[in-house]
Symmetry: C2
Subunit: 809 residues, 2 copies
């Protein structure tokens, strides 16, 4: 296994017979494919014209600005050619996740070769004209990105921000028992945290119901400017690491193409044979032990087959091969000459006919139809997506005889809905719940009536709800949860991510990338809509009673609202039935990232199911029963609007409305609740934005609005600054004041409490009388008394705890 | 090494003699300490009064709401007691990073025991009254958090958001050659990506110049509701994993206290002996091979020594021990009885005298003075902080004969400053640069004149700037970079994190937590100010020419501006000299998180050093030379304000001002540049906020303002919505439109280009004549022509590329 560098052989594992090496004709076909893909890759990086080198290369054939990356590309082309052989020989249903950054040229080249590119983009024909287009468009204005991207056929993984390839691969493999998901992991990417955590995803892959991930760790040795860690540690240490991750690694390495072909072909055959054996053992023989899945370590030079030296400095096999090995072929005749030699070294005349079409030698080894990596329907998941069987909401809803008469834990009620979805998908297996060890903590545990938490290592008698085939995925890594779910959705299934609100920020960057993916994919007609990525953010900022300041961060919403409005949706249902109505909507939706913020603590039930549905469909509405405008002033505009978004702000606004009704009954108060936060935006800024007319119908054109918002108050200002009544808008929200304290103390510390809201109203409505001034004074006194009471008793004032809507005279 | 569970022994490594086990008296003292800390921990979770159980425990002695976590605590107490022994016996200079979540009670208990708590908080005396305070304040309103937090003496690590302990520990160890940083890693936390990546930090620790990290992986088996992965994989697999990470693990485990004490004491002695040997070899013998540092795997039951069963269900050793094992001692007499037994099981009468003071048996084994873990000055880094030796800026500044006459790459100029700082700290070693493989890509490579990149594994002849003792830390993990730097700063040193702007989001959550830490620490008088955490965000949104959409995200600033304004500072220097002036300021500052956004591409030099200093000190100012208000209208207000923040927007605004000067010379245009974005805020919202008067002096009270901003445009609205002239404010910025394209095409796609800005001005200034209308038409035509030109030529229009300020008539 560890002979000299360049001479490693794939060692047969114990109990496995050695695999025979493919014959010379097969190897020659492999090499032709690889050379063709390498030629097409270099062409994409450099050429504006003269794609087949039918005339001597001149400076005007070279792109004016060279924006691309060669370093990782030949390695990806190598893997692609070998996967093609295995797909054809074994009729494999396979995907490949291309993890390394800047790998764009490789899958583009290969998709063009096998025709899937032309199938997707008919104007890029499989001939000289199309080759010229393929070259020109790469990393060119109006063209395609230099990374693997949504535009790349066969891809479910953006190659820009690194670290998520393996998690995506596992997500794709879940519940696709016949699928092989190869995953090329770059040695740079392998240094990231999310990737490092993802190695343990193999403890969650069920060999019976899931497909298989074949990690191919590509050690080309260098990142942008540094050696890669895993490429530099001694190989015995690397071997321990990979075995410690639970894999059975096969090693391939060298810098001689023929030798690498032989070894990689043998290693891939060994790996696929073992995978077949392990699947068979689990599925046919009932073996329950966690398999030691194979993986491949591929060690080839960075920029393999590219210029060995440029300007007297070594390039191939060093970090200098990362980007553009020959920097200036337009200006430097030596570079131009070297580029010509480089391109000719692939012997294009053997690879493409005079019309620029791939020759029979190249085409012979390529898969066809949906077996092509660029055309596998799993990589365009919308093709496979089925409607999620959602139960009638009435089965899950809570009964509401009067607003605030009862209370429930909203997420527990949602658990009932999710349990039904789990039960209804028990056979189809196309719905998963992911979360960082919080499903029960977030009170969704009803799902365990229908499924379990997936777990492939030892299960002890004391454990509960663990099973090999469970569809709840819990691991204490938000990154892994997010990556799994993305991979699962992108391959045409459904799911939900439940998280502590604050810790959604951990995957803020991943979420932003997924929005970018969807925004781009929506503009590609061939990409079919996929199920939305749904977040349930609970255990939220206002109820961190025993976690305190570090667990308080409602800013995930702010971050996502910076992203493409055609993709981002944010909902703050104020009670159990509205949460059900929102969940029903988001689980049916397509191509969105939906953020649902809801509490897990007991919360008054305000709306019955019908009212909840209507309210959520409107997204924002007047709660007439809670205000006084009709009883008092008649048909005119109210004196003040009390608006709210989020469960705790809604409770405080209703308590404030209650106080005002009792103590200043002649004040016409309107209560507005906002569920869909984008309603506040202008219609030109978000598809859900209310017109000015509808906005003013809710919030008035000129009356004071006191808005109690769940998160950072300035978000509401940023969404509404252009509205006519914005100068009248006063927002309360989270001000980064918090600790381990009582729920009511939290709202007091952040000036979001009922007493403060009453004071805000009194301060803003002109012409109130002395009774109002006295009420204001009384409110200030209660707040002060509350503060002392809390620190003395560790509890909220009894009158706060005992408050019920409408219960007091 | 792997006998039956509970009977593992620390295996002596090859070449090491077995370590003798401490004598029985020492073990008894250890156990007394542990029991005392456990007693104090249970007391914190449960007791409101009667701390010494001087009377029978009654319901009113119990806290009304139980908010704390027992599960991880006895393990942390165990490690603390054993570290104490080692510190005393070896006179160790040691810190401990307490990684597991919810571990707050443990370091609080131990700090109270050794007196460091009372030294820090004199009202919490080391007697019965103080013990009562210690108990009451824990996770109580007005008290202290349930996690390890800034309030905890001896801590540099918040135990709330998980995954950063090991990175913090390595940061603390860097450049502290005599320091031992023990790091307890929870088995939950170990599942996170950042922690998984941090294991490889040992490849960056220089055995000569750095201290040592001793990881203690605490496998107590369970998280909130699930088994922990690393606790459930077979021990040989775990051993391979840890050896694969480069460690030499020692195993300790059991559920019998006496046995665990013996084994842990022996393992700790073995580990410390090996560390001493490895340091000696590297420092005295010149051994250059990367050491295989020891680590300890500690396997004890979750909730060790707590109730074995409650209500007929197993608790100790299961996930049920995670939080409050006895849920209702106030309401359930059986729980109250069990709590009494539990507390008495520690035999408090042996541990505390009648006055509640720790007995001699407990005190005997405790370190004193600064050797106490609760009092080590490294954990209150401001005590050790020295002024950073910054060079005179004139040494680094670029010469500016006239605005826009020359151009430089700002970050390359900054590199000159950083190189001088590196040189000036060569002996002191208290400045580090961290970044994800981007120092050279971000054009800071001048630092390599003064130091190298630290690297402890193989260095090949082809490598450049790698060395064992380098102080540039590059690894492709933003998490690790951030964690290192936090640990380094919190222990009293200086540093800078350079990152691609978009990928700072990867550590958005960590940055938010660090702001929270600083915000809390600033309010604690005993925490001395530390150096600010400085971000250089470069390779920014406008210049992702070859990376495209996935690399475009200017939202890190938005996220941080949601956080405590007393901590967060954001600067957008528009050229090289302003970047120097800002860098000089942020490197001198304390207790802030400074975000500096600056380009690495050639950028016109607008200000000479003196003007740059003055401009940056003001934070925002009128660039009179760029506007026309004085030349045209005289002393009145301008017709329009063109404002800008960021290098690319500044260039476009100046080009627009240039166009207006030439084509509409009678229009009085004011150009305002903003460096310090918080200047836009109200003084009550941010310490840097301008008064309304000063704000209006820049932006006028009623004239149209066209603001070209570097990031998302609504951020400017959110910062200024309360200003009188906000209705006149029109902001251009990044609209999530981008791809691999030319720099100028990027600004066109996002409506931030000079032509669009001229059109914006014409659209907003009332009463302009027909010449203005014609100019507007011409601008629209140029934009259209530009779009076609770009897709045809892959380049910007020549007139764009050739533009120079003031160069045209």
């Amino acid at each position: 296994m560890t002979t000299a560098r360049g001479g490693r052989r794939a060692a047969p594992a114990e109990g496995h017979a050695p695999v025979s090496v493919p014959d010379e004709a097969t190897l020659a076909a492999l090499d032709a494919q690889w050379r063709a893909a390498n030629y097409l890759s270099v062409g994409q990086i450099y050429l504006l014209a003269n794609p087949l080198l039918t005339e001597p290369l001149r400076r005007e054939h070279i792109k004016p600005r060279l924006l691309g990356h060669w370093g990782t590309t030949p390695g990806l082309n190598l893997v692609h050619a070998h996967l093609n052989r295995a797909i054809v020989e074994r009729d494999l249903d396979a995907l490949c996740v291309w993890g390394p950054g800047h790998g764009g040229p490789a899958p583009l080249a290969n998709a063009w070769l096998d025709g899937s590119y032309t199938d997707t983009y008919p104007d890029v024909t499989r001939d000289a004209a199309g080759m010229a287009r393929l070259f020109r468009q790469f990393s060119f204005p109006g063209g395609v990105p230099s990374h693997v991207a949504p535009q790349t056929p066969g891809s479910i993984h953006e190659g820009g921000e690194l670290g998520y390839s393996l998690a995506h691969a596992y997500g794709a493999a879940c519940d696709n028992p016949d699928l092989l998901v190869a995953c090329v992991i770059g040695d740079g990417e392998a240094e990231t945290g999310p990737l490092a955590a993802s190695w343990h995803a193999n403890k969650f892959l069920d060999p019976v119901h899931d497909g298989t991930v074949l990690p191919i760790l590509h050690l080309n040795g260098y990142k942008i400017a540094n050696p890669a860690l895993l490429a530099r540690i001694p190989e015995p240490e690397l071997d321990q690491l990979l075995r410690g991750y639970g894999h059975d690694p096969l090693y391939v390495g060298g810098d001689q193409p023929a030798e690498v072909h032989r070894e990689l072909a043998a290693a891939l055959d060994t790996a696929l044979d073992r995978i077949a054996d392990l699947r068979w053992a689990a599925r046919e023989q009932g073996v329950r032990a966690r398999p030691r899945w194979p993986m491949i370590v591929l060690r080839t030079p960075k920029g393999f087959t590219g210029p060995a030296e440029v300007d007297g400095l070594p390039v191939e096999g060093t970090w200098r091969a990362h980007q553009i090995p020959l920097a200036d072929p337009r200006g430097n005749p030596a570079h131009l000459r070297q580029l010509t030699e480089w391109l000719r070294s692939y012997r294009p005349a053997e690879l493409f006919d005079e019309a620029g079409r791939p020759t029979a030698a190249v085409l012979a080894g390529l898969p066809t139809g949906e077996r092509r990596l660029g055309a596998n329907p799993h990589a365009n998941g919308g093709l496979l997506l089925r409607e999620l069987p959602l139960p009638p909401l009435a089965e899950c809803a809570v009964e509401v005889t009067a607003p605030g008469a009862g209370s429930h834990e909203p997420t527990r009620v949602l658990g009932g809905l999710l349990a039904r979805v789990m039960a209804a998908t028990a056979e189809r297996r196309d719905f998963r719940l992911v979360g960082p060890d919080e499903t029960a903590s977030n009170r969704l545990q009803a799902v365990y009536q229908a499924t379990d938490k997936v777990w492939q290592t030892a299960i002890l008698p004391v454990d509960e709800h663990l099973a090999h085939e469970g569809r709840v995925m819990e691991v204490l890594s938000e990154h892994l949860c997010q990556g799994w779910l993305e991979g699962y959705l992108l391959t045409g299934r459904h799911g939900l991510f439940s998280s502590y609100e604050a810790f959604a920020h951990i995957v803020g960057s991943m979420a932003g990338q997924h929005v970018k993916w969807l925004r781009t994919a929506r503009r590609l007609p061939w990409r079919r809509p996929i199920a939305s990525l749904n977040y349930l953010l609970t255990s939220h900022v206002w109820r961190q009673d025993h976690n305190g300041f570090s667990h308080q961060d409602p800013g995930f919403v702010d971050q996502l609202l910076n992203k493409a409005p055609e993709v981002v949706r944010v909902y703050l249902p104020p009670d159990s039935n509205t949460l059900l109505a929102v969940a029903d909507h988001v689980l049916r939706s397509r191509d969105y990232v939906n953020v649902v913020v809801a509490g897990k603590q007991p919360c008054f039930d305000w709306l019955d199911l019908d009212a909840a549905r209507a309210h959520c469909a409107a997204g924002a509405g007047i709660w007439e029963w809670a205000g006084t405008e009709n009883g008092a002033g008649g048909s005119g505009e109210p004196d003040v609007v009390l608006a709210c978004a989020g469960d705790v702000p809604t409770q405080e606004v209703l308590a404030a409305a209650d106080l005002l009704r009792r103590h200043l009954p002649e004040l016409a108060v309107r209560v507005v609740n906002v569920v869909d936060i984008a309603r506040l935006m202008a219609p030109e800024d978000h598809p859900h934005g209310l017109s000015d007319r509808d906005y003013h119908a809710l919030f008035t054109r000129d009356r004071p609005v006191v808005f109690a918002y769940h998160g950072y108050p300035w978000l509401i200002h940023r969404l509404t600054y252009h509205r006519d009544n914005h100068p009248q808008l006063h927002v309360r929200g989270y001000l980064e004041e918090g600790s381990t304290t009582t729920p009511f103390d939290m709202v007091v510390r952040n000036d979001l409490d009922r007493y403060r809201l009453v004071m805000d109203v009194i301060d803003r409505v002109p012409g109130l009388d002395v009774r109002a001034a006295r009420l204001r004074q009384r409110m200030a006194e209660v707040r002060y008394r509350h503060g002392r009471w809390v620190t003395e008793h560790g509890a909220d004032l009894p009158e706060v705890a005992d408050w019920r809507w409408g219960a007091l005279p």
